[in-house]
Each structure stands twice: as C-alpha cells, then as structure tokens.
Amino acid sequence: MKSAADALIQVRGVSMLFPGKTPSSSISVLDDISFDVAQGEFVCVVGPSGCGKSTLLNIVAGFLPPTSGSVTVENQTVTGPDRRRIFVFQENGVFPWLTVRKNVGFGLRDRSEAEQRAIVDRYLEMVGLTGFDGAYPRELSGGMKQRVEIARALAASPDSIYMDEPFGALDFLTRLKMRSDLIRIWQHERKTILFVTHDIDEAVQLADRVIVMSQRPSTVRVMVPIDLPRPRDIDSLAYITVRERIFESIGVSAKIGEAAPETAAARRKRPRDESRDADVIVVGGGPAGAIVGSYLGAAGVDHVILDKAMHPRPHVGESLICSTTRVFDDIGVLPAIEQGPFVRKYGVTWTRWHDSTAHVLKFRAIPHLGVVQDYTYHVDRGRFDRLLLDHARSRGSRVLEGTTAAGVVFDDDGAAAGVRVRTDDGTERVLRSRLVIDASGRAGLLGSQLKLKRPDPMFDQFAVHNWFEGLDRGPAPTADYLQIRLLPTPRSWVWQIPISADVTSVGVVTRRDDFVEGHESPAESFARHLLADPELAARVAKSRPLHDFVREGNYSYAMDRFAGNGWLLVGDAARFIDPIFSSGVSVAAESARLAAAAAISALRDGSVEAPAFASYEATLGRGLERWREFVQLYYQLPEAFLEMLDTEDGRSGLRQVLQGEVFEVPAVPILDRMRQTIGAAASA
C-alpha cells in the first residue's frame, strides 16, 4: 500500500444508507470504506453483484453524497463531479446524437478548432478508431462505443478516470481485447484509474492493486497488490496464485473440477507466505529438476519447476548407471521406467580399434543401497525426461512449461529471492521463493550469473552422433550393453547405445580441435573418425541413419560453489564431466537427492543460508571430484584401465565407480590404485 502522502484519492470511512419506507427497511450498502489511490495507480474494486461497488465509485466521483465519511482528492473534499476526474459508464455514456469526432472532443469545447482536431485525432488513434470520426455511435459495435467513451475521457486530459464495469456488456473476446488495449493506453498515459468490476480475472489482469469488497453492507475485505509485470500471462503461476487468493478471500473456490491429484491439491491449499509464489523454485525440468521436484513434492514442500521446453527434446540417447536405480526407487518412478520403452543395460564393454577383444563389465546389484536389479537402462532422453517430469507433477510439483528463467533475483542481503522468468510470448515477471534450486543443466543459470563457471581444459570434447535403424550391435551376450570403442586419436571414442529393439545411437567423441580444423560437415566428420574402426564402420554402413548428424560440444566445467544463500546447484548446472562413463544422469540424480534432502531440512529449520548447505556442497563436491579424477586417469592411460577390467579384483573396484557409488562413500580404493598404477606407468 502506498502511504497517505502519495495518495491522490483518499476515501475515509464512507458509508452509504439508502433509506427505506421505514427506518428498519433502510438498506445499508457501504459500511465504513477507507482506502487510498495513489497518483498513476490502477486500482480495481471487485466484489459480488449488488455489493455496492458501483455506488462506491459514484460516491468517489461525486455523483452521490455518502451518508457518512468523505472522499478527498488532492486534499479537497469531493462535493460533485469534476472534469479532472472523468467517469466511464457501464451503460455507455457516448452521446448518440454526436459523431465520434464530436463525442471525443466533447470535453474540449473551450479549445481552438485546430487543437480540438489534433487532440481528437490523437486519441482516436490511441483507441484504434482512426477513420471512424464521422460515424455516429449507432453505427458502431459495443466495443467501439466503449473505445469512443475512453477516448472522450482521455481527451479531456483528466487526472483520474473512474470506470464502472465498462466492459461488462461486451462479449468475451472483445473484453479481452479491450483490457489489453486499456493497459497499453494506461501505460502510455499513466492516468490514475479506479476501475469497478465483478470479474476477478479482469481485476487481476488490469490492476496494480485489487480492493476486494464483501457482501452488502460492503466493507473492504482485503486489498491485494498485484506485483506482476504487464502484459500479464493469465496462465502463469503468479497470476493464478493471486487470482486464487482473491477467490479464496471472497469465499469462492476458483477450482472447478480440478483434475490434479488430491495430495497435490491439498498441498496447494496449504497456507503459505503471501509474498511468495512458492517456497522453492526449481529452474529446469530435466532429470535433476524433476527428481528434486519429486523429492520435494513427497515431503510436502511447496515448489514450482520452471521448464523451458514445451516440446519433446531432440533425440538424444543416454546410458544410465546402476546407482540411479536407488533414486528412482526412492521417488517411486522405478515401476514407470521398468514399464517404459527403455532397453535394459546389463553392463559396459570397451573395445579398442585395433583388436576385437571386448573388455566387459557386467553390472551387479548394490544390496547395501537397496538396489536389487543388476541392470540399469538405456534411455531416449526425450521420453525419459518427460516421464520424470510427469512423475514430479504427480508428486505435487507445479510445472511451468514454456518458461525461461532469465535470471535469479537476489535481495539486498545477497540471498536468492526468486527467479525472473520469461514466457514464450515474451512476458517477464519475477517469481518469488525462499530457495532457488538451479537445475538448468549446461546453460548454468546461476553459474553464469554469478560468474562461478570454471572451464576444465582437460575435457574439451566434441561429439557427433545419430540414431541408426537396423544396426548390428554385435554378439548376443553384450549386444545391449553400452559399447565403448576407443579410437586411435587420444581421447577419442565411439559410443553405441541401444535406444529400442531396432534403433541404436552411435556417437563419436573427440577433441574439439579435431573437429574445428577439419571444416567438415558433421556427417563427414563422423565417417572419417569411424574409418579407424573398420568393424564398427561396416556395421554402421549397413544400417540407416534416422536423421541428420548432430554435433555438440561437451566442454567440461565446474562451478566454484554449489550452494549459497538461498540457492543450490544440481546436476549439470553444478558440474559437467566428460560423459564417457555415463555419469550425467547419475550426477543429476544423486545431486538432486542430496539437494532435496538439504533443502527440506533447511526449510524445516528455517534457514536457507549457505551454512545450511555446507554438507551438501562438500558431499557433492567430493563425489564430483572423484568422477573427474577417474575420467582424467582413464584418459591418461586407457590401456591401464582395460587391463584392470580383465581382473576380477580390478572389476570389482571399478564397478563401484562405474555404478555410480562415489558420493557418500568414505573412500574409493580403485582411484588410489589407478593413481599408483598410472603414476607408475607414466614414470616407467
């Protein structure tokens, strides 16, 4: 609320009693109404039919004297209507005997002819009626007549405009158009507008502040500031939240036949801090975001997921590792994945370009984590991400699709306080929250904003990949394993990932400079690298690529920090590591699990400042560092890695890492051994 000093219009204790035939039959319409309207403010008064809101507006405008109380404008008591405050009438007050031009110029009779013409032309253009100046109102539609009246009001150059359900008689589409035009005009002219309507949507779409009135005798039930940028997206969460709040305040449920699960609905009804859109905003609806959302939803934390992609993601195949099974089981999505169209992944094979010997790692169950499956999955990321996000929704996540996070908003103390979002139609607004979890993936929203991003030059990779139909995946036992084939160029390798019974993803990964120097098309590049592996090249040649080759950078990087005051980073937004060991979704899942736990306990304890996330940061950092070191050691001497795979002892050590158990374990012995082995080999 604005302070009284700013107030242009002050309504003080206004009551209105319409006398009846006897004192007892008098009707009390307004009861002690007080509010202010600031200069340039757009205030809507809403209330049930017959609540006296039009009476109130007529009193404010000076058409009716109140029974008691007063209205002052610029500290002068209002005793009658005034041409500085023009009323726009519900029943249309355009004079039917005058042309449009003469109507609009009605308040300008003391101006010169030329001035009148110029002013009228200007406002006719503003309301979109240029060319109709010679028409009579009877020749116009209802909406056009209201435009004439609005132009007439504006042309008189008033300080304020009072509008009494001006669009009430118009059809739905015309009403919508009139609202957006009114806002455009208001933003241009910045008149003070007091607008009466029975339509809460209209009020929320238009106003800076909504005054909600009660049933007769009316009092001011609540005043709701609407701090949403214009033009307003009526599908946005913030809009819906404000709207619901107003509906609730007049005791009407805005939800009719709501289809969301009961738990989610019940959760949404839980009272929350009025100044926030959600307790937690999760930026990004990929696996990390969806998993965080699922955990938060299960814990009853009010949160929203901002998901940029409205449409299926491009075809990317990805192989998972076993530790993710625990997380999927935790959030209850495992049955859906099991039933989904995903190929089971029982292990990984490594093959070198110069021989056909496969070095095999078969997965095992991880009983101490409760993972009883000895397999994981190859997934089509488009479907997989969708499945996870739908699951999050079923757990109570409010997912805003088609919303791009433009930046995290920080309060004066440097704590994250919300996210500035932009919808597809270009509208921007700020969603407020206690905590922001950045799951924005490689876009790294907070990392870029806070300049936390540190590239890792060790892993400056590029990939070229495609899906192939009818590809021979090799001999049966390992056909559906993830197959890694090492190429002669250092750090170059090929993946082969089954996507479905018939479709296989094949991708070449190599150093970036290897691509840049060649000036080749992605397809040429792919073919050239595959020449080094004739066996695979022959299999690929017999299959059919399903679409154009895709080339993408896999630049590894890490963020300096993974948490701060009011924010957490999860998944790729925290760190991206060369994908050779299929760590991507595992990092997303594990970091999401850890972040959700940290967030839930921080919210419960009431502090979302950095110290609350110290342990998250440490655990995640340690696990990611283990992954990074593992990858780095591997690339230093792949031969050593393959040798280890050939011993049972080595396999069991590697399995710990390759199944993803790096975050919450005290030690990873194989890393020590690799350091020694590779160190020894390097010194030899």
Binding site: F89, G93, G107, Y136, P137, K145, A156
Partner: protein, 268 residues
C-alpha cells in the same frame, strides 16, 4: 449485443412494391366504390369519376387552390404557434420538477377537451375571422407537443446527464449540447402527432367559423345544393394533404442527429 445499423439498400423491386401495392389497393377501392354506387342506383352519392370531375371544376374555378391555401395557412399559423409555445413550455416543465408538479394537473384537465367544444368560446372571443380556427388548431396541437416534450426531458438517459455534469457544462451548454439533442427525437414525434391533429381540426373549425378553406368547401357544398361530388372531393383532398404533411414531418426523423431515437437499429 453489439449494435449494427444496417443501411438498407432499397432494391428496385422493393421500391416498386412500396408504390404498387398501395396504389393497387386504392384502385380496387375505387372500383368497389364505383360498382357500389352504380349498383345502389343512388342519385346523391357520387361515383369516383363524379368526384374527379368535381375536383376539375373546382380547380377551374380557382377555388381548389384558394381553399387549400386557406386551410394550410390556418394550420400553419395554429400549429407554429403551438410548437413555439409548446416545446419550450414542455421542456421547462420536464426539467423543473416544481413547475411540472404545479402545471401538470391543469394540462391533464385541458388536454381531453375536444377542440370542437372550444368552438363557441372561440367564436365568442375571436368572432368569425381567421383567428378562431387558428386558435382551435393551436389548442388541438399544443397539448400533444407539451406532453411529448415533458416526457422527452424526463426520459433522458441519466447517463447523458451525468456525463454532461462530469464535463462541467454550463447551463446554456447543457441545454444546447445535451438536453436539446437528447429530447429532439421524441419532440419530433410529438410534432408529427400534433400536426395530424391540427389538420384534423382545421376541417371542423372551418365548417363553423369561416367562409373559406376545405372545411368550408365541404359544408358549403352540402348546404348550397347537395353537391356531394364536391363534398367527397374536399374529403379526398384533405386526406391527400394530410398524407403529404405526414410524409414531410417523417423526413425530419431521418436526420443523423435524431435517428438514434427511433429504434431503427437492428438490436441493442
């Protein structure tokens, strides 16, 4: 609903129809009239051709034009007087509530008194010159004008008055720019009704008090030689002129400034 004034482009066929149908009916009436007269064998009541011959005779004698002009003159005088007095009085009574309260009962008492009843009074006051029928015509037409003007003011949409107050109009400007245009359609309707009554009354007034005019023609033709062909000729001329006057006043209703008041819009 939206209001869409549809300009009705008159098709040629529709125009022909608008003329042909009434003419056909009129022709039929003439035939029936003719046949009925012949069949009854009456020597007194004229057939249509007799009437036409009577008109031609009157025209040749110069009486037709003279009587028409005389009647029109009286109607014009009486009616104009009624309008000049009735419109301002009506607007004033409609606007100032106390005046309305004071005068309305009186108006309602005078209004139902037939102008015929005033004939003796008129003769007493004005003798048998032109002033008597003009007075009667005035009396007959002034009340419809006053009453419709009162109603016009009282029925002004409050929203127009409030808009006018909002724009801070002076009293003169309010009258000139709002009250007058807002009441005009209904005032015109009052005028049209009053003119019809005035023409109605002129015949009765001329039958008694004067020695010219269409009313005098009728009574004189009857008295002077049972010239029923001339009686009916006078009646027909009165009817035709009445039609012409009505068409004339109706044209006032076609002006853009007042058309809004006649509900000739498709919907609202």
């Amino acid at each position: 609903m939206t209001t869409v004034a549809i300009p009705r482009a008159p098709r040629a066929g529709a125009i022909a129809m608008a003329w042909a149908l009434p003419l056909l009916v009129a022709a039929l009436l003439l035939v029936v009239w003719h046949v009925a007269v012949r069949a009854s064998g009456t020597k007194i009541f004229p057939a249509p051709l007799d009437v036409a011959q009577g008109m031609i005779q009157l025209a040749r004698q110069g009486l037709l034009l003279k009587y028409v002009v005389a009647s029109l003159f009286r109607v014009t005088m009486g009616f104009t007087l009624a309008a000049l007095i009735g419109i301002p009085v009506g607007l004033a009574l409609g606007w100032f509530r106390p005046w309305f309260v004071a005068f309305n009962p009186l108006i309602q008492v005078f209004r139902p008194i037939s102008p015929i009843a005033w004939i003796p009074v008129a003769i007493l006051w004005f003798g048998v010159d032109d002033r008597a029928p003009i007075f009667l015509i005035f009396l007959a037409s002034v009340f419809p004008i006053i009453v419709s003007a009162i109603a016009a003011v009282q029925n002004i949409q409050p929203v127009y008055m409030r808009a006018a107050r909002n724009f801070g109009l002076t009293r003169t400007a309010l009258f000139r720019h709002v009250i007058l245009p807002a009441t005009l359609p209904q005032v015109i309707t009052g005028i049209r009704i009053a003119l019809g009554i005035a023409w109605l009354v002129v015949v009765a007034a001329e039958m008694i008090a004067v020695n010219s005019g269409l009313g005098y023609l009728i009574i004189d033709a009857r008295n002077a030689g049972k010239r029923y062909d001339l009686v009916v000729a006078g009646m027909v001329i009165i009817g035709l002129i009445g039609l012409a006057l009505d068409l004339l006043v109706r044209r006032l209703e076609q002006f853009d400034e007042v058309r809004w008041g006649y509900g000739n819009e498709v919907s609202r």
